[in-house]
């Protein structure tokens, strides 16, 4: 069975105000909740693959969460609620050409970009420095903790790709809370001026730790912040993987055809705690969370695909088992990854400065380790 979301309880005020169905580029306040967008573009295999990816990402996330509970991993942020957004994004992009710059919650859902993403995320969660190194050719950046700083990076990368005449585009994630940072605005504004091939995805999960969207901004939606930049803004039901897929595929087409950036808001609800360190019962209204659980993105997709005869309980079980095995292997490998404490000094500069070399030499003399 699909793991339950990390914390538990129904009504979803934000989502009730959004439409799905064919109208994936919808506006708040215009309709009722439906199932999954009926997208002619996606064949059955892709829909099944997206379903599997969504389930897997929750399994991965939950395993990392449990590692923290067992004292084996550091603070981490569960994915619960964002699975449809990740699947929609992953499948709409071209892993060979496009880049993804995550915030921190997304690394478990980008398996399509390469197995390195998850393997390194496990290392990252284990507190191993190699977790920061997602090797080429995988086009995903490591987690970003300093919120919204990744948006200027994405714009710079897209600008560079444009100048180099490279195909592809850059997609950057940030949370609803992170949109309050100057970096988000500065970067989107500059992206507009540059016509940079970048897609800025706001994952609106209703909360920034304990701070609800209503304390974050008076803007009616995050997508309409696009007016400030003169770029298109798109508002999508983020519990509908296909709607997200459609929105991102469309934004990608714009980007790679020189039509510039798009701001995409994907609306969902954070079904778990902020991180392993958080107690959401202190501030999340129980009824609101319960409503959101009725629209759990995995359930939405599963009931839709089961209805179409594309998915069965056996598929779920097989997917969970495979994800468990995948994750087990990653954790075993991660925990067995050797570490020389002197790596502390590596990669600060291309070559150690004399002072750093001296510090390292002293360290090695005191602690042993490679010299």
């Amino acid at each position: 069975m699909i793991p339950e979301p990390t914390t538990a309880r129904r009504r979803h005020p934000r989502l009730r105000r959004t439409t799905t169905g064919r109208v994936w580029r919808h506006r708040v306040g215009s309709g009722n909740m439906a199932g999954v967008t009926d997208a002619a573009r996606l064949d059955d295999d892709t829909l099944r693959a997206m379903m599997a990816e969504m389930i897997s990402s929750r399994v991965f996330s939950q395993r990392v969460f449990n590692l923290q509970r067992q004292g084996r991993a550091g603070t981490n942020a569960p994915v619960d609620g964002s699975e449809a957004i990740l699947a929609g994004v992953s499948f709409a992009l071209d892993p060979a050409e496009d880049w993804v710059l995550p915030q921190y919650r997304e690394l478990v859902g980008l398996e399509r970009f390469g197995t390195d993403v998850l393997d390194r995320y496990v290392l990252y969660s284990l507190g191993h420095p190699a977790g920061g190194h997602i090797p080429a050719p995988t086009r995903v950046w490591p987690p970003q903790i300093s919120l919204a700083t990744q948006v200027p990076h994405a714009v710079g990368l897209a600008w560079g790709m444009k100048r180099a005449g490279e195909p592809g585009c850059v997609l950057v994630f940030l949370g609803d809370g992170s949109t309050s940072e100057g970096d988000f605005y500065e970067a989107c504004n500059f992206a507009g001026v540059l016509d940079a091939p970048v897609i800025v995805v706001v994952v609106n999960n209703g909360w920034a730790i304990s701070t609800p969207v209503s304390s974050q901004t008076r803007a009616k939606t995050f997508s309409e912040k696009s007016h400030a930049f003169g770029i298109p803004g798109v508002h999508v039901d983020g519990t509908d993987a296909v709607a997200v897929y459609e929105a991102i595929a469309d934004a990608r087409t714009r980007a790679v055809n020189g039509a510039g950036p798009t701001l995409v808001e994907c609306v969902t609800y954070r079904l778990g705690p902020h991180t392993t360190a958080d107690d959401p019962t202190r501030y999340v209204p129980a009824d609101e969370l319960a409503a959101a659980r009725e629209r759990d993105p995995i359930e939405v997709m599963r009931s839709e695909l089961e209805g179409r005869g594309l998915w069965s309980e056996a598929d779920t079980e097989a997917t969970v088992a495979a994800a468990d095995a995948r994750m087990e292997a990653a954790v075993v490998a991660g925990e067995a990854t050797p570490l020389d404490q002197a790596e502390l000094f590596d990669h600060v500069y291309a070559e150690h400065t004399p002072r750093l070399a001296a510090q390292r030499a002293r360290f090695v003399a005191e602690h042993g380790g490679a010299s």
Binding site: I145, D183, T211
Partner: protein
């Protein structure tokens, strides 16, 4: 005065309650400080006690948290903003260094800036990047700020009270590791610790009876105390001095100790290059050069970014590293 054992975190929370009760102008705001009581619960209960007018969850934007403090101060309020982790004060650097620090100066005294910016920092608790960095030196070079770094629960109360009542902007930096690990007797009544008065944590009545003096601040005081214990068994008499405030600095105590003892170790968590230890060494050079019997030993983090969890114990100075510097300094010709 009656005292009660408290952790540093409890002492901070207790002090915020006391100061909000004491002065109606005090306002607490920042990310997650109200409903959630702060991610560490430092501001727990303030919303209930003082209401949503005075305890405010802000949008996630450090620049405007610091920037609005300037305007609130001009409106006659006493702003006590929280930056969730000191590493994210970088997002507010232009406001803190360029505006908060010089509100009084730019307006030639028209506006006071009784702003206390609280921020946790420091290593040892396996946090993600930019949660642990010790940035005090980057702020110490900025005129107009005061920099306060308590090392005990009682001092957290005494110094935070002084900070909030001080007419100048104060960076009040709280060691993450100390929040729950430092626990001591805290006076329950009004308790102010003046700025610029160092505290002797370990040492003889007469400094001249000590062999090495260690200057430290924040959680490194605790580490230095442990190092002093280690070497005490070896017969080295160590004096540990908690600087408490880096700006203003207690130059008199520093001078007196160096003159009396002649052998000095300075301990910091921050990277070595241009950390505040450098300033201390320069100050000692100015004030007591002729009393030095050996070079001042610096124990620091390395000149590398604060590392991930599996490397952090190698990075942050521990009691053994400090003890080794003490031994070396005691022995130096």
């Amino acid at each position: 005065m009656t005292t009660q054992p408290m952790t540093m975190l409890e002492a901070i929370n207790h002090t915020l309650h006391a100061e909000m009760a004491h002065d109606d102008r005090v306002m607490v705001f920042g990310e997650d400080v109200a409903a959630n009581g702060g991610v560490f619960r430092a501001t727990e209960g303030l919303l209930d006690a003082f209401g949503a007018d005075r305890v405010v969850d802000t949008p996630l934007a450090e620049g405007v948290i610091a920037g609005t403090a300037v305007g609130l101060a001009a409106a006659g309020m006493v702003p006590v903003p929280e930056i969730q982790f000191l590493g994210f004060s970088y997002q507010a650097f232009h406001q803190i260094a360029g505006q908060v620090a010089r509100l009084r100066y730019r307006t030639r005294g028209r506006f006071d800036a009784p702003i206390t910016i609280r921020a946790p920092f420091g290593g040892g608790v396996r946090t993600p990047e930019l949660h642990s960095e010790s940035l005090e030196a980057q702020y110490a070079n900025i005129p107009g700020l005061k920099i306060v770094m308590p090392a005990s629960a009682a001092d957290a109360k005494g110094l935070l009270t002084t900070a909030i009542r001080d007419p100048d902007p104060v960076l009040f930096l709280e060691p993450l590791r100390g929040y729950r690990m430092l626990r001591d007797e805290v006076p329950l009544g009004e308790h102010l610790v003046p700025f610029g008065e160092a505290r002797t944590v370990v040492g003889a009545d007469d400094p001249a009876d000590d062999e090495v003096v260690v200057f430290a601040w924040s959680f490194m005081v605790e580490m230095s105390r442990r190092a002093a214990d280690l070497v005490a068994d070896e017969g080295i008499r160590v004096r540990v001095v908690d600087l408490r405030t880096l700006v203003p600095l207690d130059v008199d105590t520093i001078r007196t100790c160096v003159e009396a003892i002649g052998r000095v170790v300075v301990v910091q968590e921050a990277p070595e290059t241009n950390g505040f230890a450098s300033e201390l060494i320069a100050t000692i050079n100015d004030e007591a050069f002729y009393s030095l019997e050996a070079p001042v030993a610096r124990v620091s983090g390395y000149d590398a970014p604060y590392p991930v969890g599996q490397l952090e114990d190698s990075y942050v100075p521990d009691a053994e590293r400090i003890a080794e510097a003490i031994r070396r300094t005691a022995r130096a010709a």
